[in-house]
Symmetry: C2
Subunit: 298 residues, 2 copies
């Protein structure tokens, strides 16, 4: 089913008639195409749905190109990122090319859909800006964290589900909330994985986020749970390269205070609401996507 989306994406790129861009595009990992899947599951496989799914994936690819520059990420899905291979300048411009091509193709769809998707890109970019800004200090405010990940991650997933519903004449509200919850839970789980997954090099979690200054939800809960002296210690480690002892201390305190279950529960509540919305709408495939997300191994 995603075949048609991949073909359409190739067409969008080749219509630019720039071999260098086709070459760069082919180096991008295609990922799970979560947003495209949502759109096709909701709106079916008619031509406009395939267009919308391709446009959203184009926009998502653009956002990842800029995100990797922002995060100085050298890897994307275990392959060297475009910025690692070709430099930040190429990543920024390729991102702009994919964004503008996406917006251009949006103008051939219904106006309301173009508005929803372009508005989500503004939210996404604002979320990324806050991600950068917030990582300068130790953020202890859960609401600020939720607002930021809503922009950075959930807004485009929300827009995908919402606009797909409108495209096929379904009532948008439930799909919109489903997409939002799915996106929030997805990012929370991603942030948890930074603490639970063993790094290939270290054989233990690398705690990349914390080293980069990102106090994701587990750190916010941990900070809450610690006593004053420990709070000071945790803050002193923020945005620093951690010694083995220091990272073990963080991981042990996370364990002692049952932080990971608390975060997991937050994600689970969001997913359960998403599941019940899609059960009500009689959308078993969308229920399955939500279930898979919370069952990810971590």
């Amino acid at each position: 089913m995603l075949e048609a989306v991949e073909r359409r994406l190739e067409q969008y790129i080749s219509s630019l008639e720039e071999p260098i861009i086709t070459e760069l595009y082919r180096k991008l990992p295609s990922g799970k195409r979560l947003r495209a899947k949502l759109i096709l599951y909701i709106a079916g496989e008619k031509n406009d749905a395939i267009k919308l799914a391709s446009i959203v994936e184009l926009i998502h690819a653009a956002s990842l190109l800029h995100d990797d520059v922002i995060d100085d990420a050298m890897l994307r899905r275990n392959k060297p990122s475009i910025n690692a291979t070709y430099g930040n300048k190429v990543s920024i411009m390729l991102g702009d090319i994919l964004y503008s091509k996406g917006f251009n193709e949006l103008t051939f769809l219904d106006n309301k859909i173009a508005q929803i998707v372009s508005n989500a890109v503004t939210k996404l970019s604002i979320g990324e800006l806050y991600d950068v800004e917030m990582s300068k200090d130790f953020n202890t405010d859960k609401d600020k964290y939720i607002d930021m990940i809503y922009g950075k991650t959930a807004s485009l997933i929300e827009a995908s589900a919402w606009s797909a519903a409108l495209l096929c004449g379904k009532k948008g509200e439930n799909y919109k909330l489903y997409g939002k919850n799915l996106g929030l839970a997805f990012q929370m789980i991603d942030d948890l994985l930074d603490i639970t997954s063993n790094s290939d090099i270290l054989g233990k979690p690398a705690l990349h986020d914390f080293v980069e200054g990102k106090t994701t939800i587990p750190y916010i809960y941990l900070y809450d749970a610690l006593d004053l002296e420990q709070k000071i210690k945790l803050k002193s480690l923020h945005k620093k390269i951690l010694s083995q002892d220091e990272s073990i201390w963080i991981l042990e305190e996370m364990k002692k205070n049952d932080i990971l279950s608390k975060c997991y529960l937050d994600a689970k509540i969001l997913i359960e609401e998403a599941i019940s919305l899609m059960s009500y709408e009689n959308e078993p495939k969308l229920v399955a996507i939500a279930k898979e997300m919370i069952d990810r191994n971590f």
Copy 2:
């Protein structure tokens, strides 16, 4: 007349309801608003023309933010650039925010206009990518240079004039060509100024472009005019920090071979065509803009 555009731009920014973005936006120099002027001169001062002018300036501002990151530019109109003050990450994201807000507002105008403007942004980004790619080697191909500056600079000016004409029911073709010629000449003259303007620090032209690897049109013509030995010398200086002797040699060879007049003539031919198009359309203000451009002091 531009007052209404400035007010509308402020509204677009404040509608994002993010004080940090308003603060950053106010740090951007507003520039000459060439594109907005063209649009208002062509389409008059009705509401849609003010919207279009503001959207194009928003998009232009976004492109400059990314351009400054690409060029590692520390100054923009003699003030520290956003990337110099706040870092590349903030510039990239603020650019994305302004781009997407611009695209979002485009969806409230006629579809054809949204298509023209978004398509110009793709061309602009491709032009920037080629600017980066071409600066790796000594480019001696004038056509490649023209294609690149068409994308980088002329495409959005062309789109401004063209879409403004469509907005008020004028026939687009002459306005489109006027905008294209104006944009090409603008970039050529800008490239000439890098060779003719004395730098504040050095008291002589800094030849920034050549040091950065950009073989703009004067270098292409100079290369053509030199004998084999001199060609080799010129190529050996490409993308290097130049000694005083080396930059004097380049400037003297430019003078001996009458390179600047040759470049100026190219720009003049484009401007003359632009003037005759707008004389034919009975647009004295647009004629005046073209005349001013070629009369710039250099």
